[in-house]
Symmetry: C2
Subunit: 211 residues, 2 copies
DNA sequence: GTTGTACTGGACCAATCGGTCCAATGCCTT
DNA sequence: AAGGCATTGGACCGATTGGTCCAGTACAAC
């Protein structure tokens, strides 16, 4: 498979570029992010940039890929068919912990995630991240169906509504966390992660009265 | 108090302007919203526009004010100090119903609300809506504190996080509901409304194990 | 009819945007 | 030394942005 032209860039310069572009995209969204600002900040000329990237979109996608690589392999490992009523919640809890560790060890991810959320509710820009997003919601639907089949998840709400609420809750928690990331120690982050995980348990567990 | 110059506009044209500008701002955010697009869509010339508005920001704020007027009077009527452990949830339930009615009867509000959420995470734009937002979240915080003082709301999560989650949940439910409005009968709507209100009860009620 | 005021059409402005193009580098190979 | 190729600086492009300016028009008051 042919590697991206930007691989030829000096490693340091490449890393710096993605760092700056990630920050710019996260701060302003895709359209309002200024390519001129990015390249001038790292002292790169227009022609140099367009030697390594085909356009602004290319840079955006490369910025995502470069940071998302590690995480895509780590958390998809969960085997949905192997989930049982006993190990469902423990498995999800463990996965959440691993996800948190991944975020802790690769700070680029935080910036990219901010970027992601930023672009998601912008109709003009969401098509750029839509494929990633659909991938995730599809996976989430599978988990929900499995949990319902095992009798551990509520079934009184429409699935699409449940997904929307879960996403909204997760996103708001993530955003809250991301905005205060540097204010917290590792331990505090883990505590909050545990407390908020309980929120999902609470939301998904069927009410006692129902079947 | 001196009224805004735009009051002199023909009533129909004024309403149409705010309608179009609201949609534009909601769809693209403040900065990416195109003033040229707005005025050309309603067939207004630049000079005419600037005769009634000082600039783009002025139009934005007027668009908000025009739509927010009705709601500001309706739901603030609740008397926080009069809330007791017994009437807390019933009062909130009633208020939620009233709020829903207000939203349903003034569709402009939905657009403006989308505009709000859109601008909230955009560092470049949030200062425009920050005052309104703080007003609302401040009110919400009062309710939360009252509920906590009465022992009816959980106290184990940071207040700002709790507010963010409540807002996110409310928004996602609202959007889900509105997108499928015509698919549901009146009974189904009431059922969903009740079920989703339960979600808030569930989220806010302290866990049995804690104090 | 003349004057004053409210309003409008449209040319125009500087700034910024993403993107193109080409001549000039530097460097490696022969 | 010479040729070839990767890389670069920077002028330039068309489009779009929010905003300005002014000449003119419509209309009411006198």
């Amino acid at each position: 498979m042919p590697q991206h032209p930007s691989q030829k860039l000096d490693a340091n310069k490449r890393q710096r570029l993605f760092q700056v572009s990630g920050a710019e995209f996260a701060a302003h969204g895709f359209k309002l992010a200024s390519l001129n600002r990015i390249i001038s900040e790292i002292g790169m000329s227009k022609s140099s940039f367009y030697h390594y990237f085909t356009n602004k979109t290319d840079l955006f996608l490369q910025t995502i890929d470069q940071a998302m690589g590690p995480v895509l392999e780590s958390h998809v490992t969960i085997d949905i068919d192997a989930l049982t009523a006993e190990n469902l919640w423990p498995s999800l809890l463990q996965m959440a912990g691993e996800l948190m560790e991944t975020f802790n060890s690769t700070p680029d991810l935080i910036v990219v995630t901010r970027m992601f959320y930023r672009c998601m509710d912008a109709p003009d820009e969401c098509e750029l991240v839509a494929p990633y997003m659909q991938n995730f919601t599809g996976w989430l639907a599978q988990i929900i169906q499995r949990g319902q089949a095992l009798g551990k998840f509520r079934t009184d709400l429409p699935e699409s509504l449940l997904i929307d609420i879960l996403l909204a809750m997760g996103m708001s928690i993530d955003r809250w966390m991301l905005a205060r990331w540097d204010d917290f120690s590792l331990v505090e982050r883990m505590n909050i992660s545990r407390d908020t995980f309980d929120l999902f348990v609470q939301l998904l567990t069927p009410k006692a009265g129902n079947t």
